[in-house]
């Protein structure tokens, strides 16, 4: 079973709650996914809709709340958001996101490392969103990250695991759980990440904007399960040359000279 920050998770599928068409659909998708960790963002209250509250639609008994620091462009802004998140959630879980460029939404490695260090000191359970950089993953775990979250491809692109080579190195080196985050656009992408040995995946857009988000949540749950089972079972080696599946001895064709 997967343990992060002292908490044990049965499901290795983490779900983002952005971009769902309604709270009701989100709620059903969360249930269908079987997830035990959902991410949320912090924003200014819409004073025209003062009662609009996502927390009322989420069951905190079943799911760990993982507030993110989306919108932060540097460590200082992320740290400010982290403290607001802790005040709002009453817990120390944090998905650290520092994305200075709104066009790519790629994470700033230096600011992310700085913020991780400071937030760990302040008692947060920090899961930093990071580029798939194996050296950075080591640095983040060294300063106390509870897990690392390398990206498969940029947020919301549905491009899948474009960083497979680096993610494999990260997985092989990591002493903390590796959660592949961002860009996972199809259940097959999630399965691939799990087959590679990722500890979990975080999916949002691919589920929330699907034609049927509830069915898609179920599909992702199955893919994550299948990928994990395959990894544990032990995958065969890749080869550039064909390796016969059937025995080469006693081939009738040879004995009977059909191919002579």
């Amino acid at each position: 079973m997967l343990t992060i920050g002292g908490h044990t998770f049965n499901s290795r599928l983490f779900l983002g709650t952005g971009k769902f068409s309604s709270s009701a659909v989100m709620k059903q998708a969360i249930e269908a996914s079987g997830t035990e960790m959902v991410t949320v963002a912090l924003r200014r209250v819409d004073l025209d809709n003062p009662e609009d509250d996502i927390m009322s639609a989420l069951n905190r008994d079943k799911c760990v709340f993982l507030p993110n620091t989306s919108g932060a462009r540097n460590a200082e802004e992320a740290i400010r958001l982290a403290h607001l998140a802790r005040a709002a959630s009453g817990s120390s879980w944090l998905k650290l996101e520092v994305t200075p460029d709104p066009r790519t939404l790629l994470p700033d490695p230096i600011e992310t490392l700085k913020a991780t260090e400071e937030l760990v000191r302040a008692g947060f359970i920090v899961l930093p969103y990071m580029n798939a950089d194996p050296i950075l993953a080591l640095r983040l775990q060294d300063v106390g990250a509870a897990a690392v979250m390398p990206l498969g491809s940029p947020i919301g692109t549905n491009q899948g695991i474009l960083t497979a080579f680096q993610i494999e190195i990260i997985i092989n080196q990591a002493r903390v759980p590796v959660v592949v985050d961002a860009g996972i656009g199809a259940p097959s992408h999630a399965a691939l990440a799990m087959e590679m040995g990722a500890d979990a995946v975080l999916v949002n857009t691919a589920i929330s904007v699907a034609g049927d988000p509830v069915a898609m949540a179920r599909a992702f749950a199955q893919a994550v399960e299948a990928g994990r089972t395959a990894f544990v079972a032990g995958m065969g080696c890749r080869s550039k040359q064909a390796q016969a599946s059937s025995p080469l001895e006693g081939v009738l064709a040879t004995d009977l000279g059909f191919l002579a």
């Binding site: 949320v40 963002a41 912090l42 209250v45 003062p50 403290h83």
Partner: protein, 82 residues
């Protein structure tokens, strides 16, 4: 004498204040507390975090925290996000 006149001027004319709420200017009554403002806005105090001049105000302090002229106040809550 001049000082007293000034004091009188401010105490009688200073019955409204200007604050910044979520980045926009807002006029509120003098001696308004955080709790009163939340009530006026119709924001349930249990679902938000209040940040006043970059300091988080704990819910149990809403009623005792008076707003001052030029305060920068942020009302934050969770929304859907990845």
């Amino acid at each position: 004498m001049t000082v007293n006149r000034l004091r009188f001027f401010f105490s009688t004319n200073h019955c409204i204040m200007h604050i910044h709420l979520n980045g926009s200017p807002k006029t509120i009554n003098d001696s308004m507390t955080v709790a009163m403002l939340l009530q006026e806005l119709g924001v349930p105090s249990t679902s938000v975090v209040v940040e006043l001049n970059k300091t988080i105000i704990q819910p149990e302090c809403y009623a005792a925290t008076s707003l001052q002229d030029n305060d920068q106040m942020e009302l934050i809550r969770f929304v859907g996000g990845g």
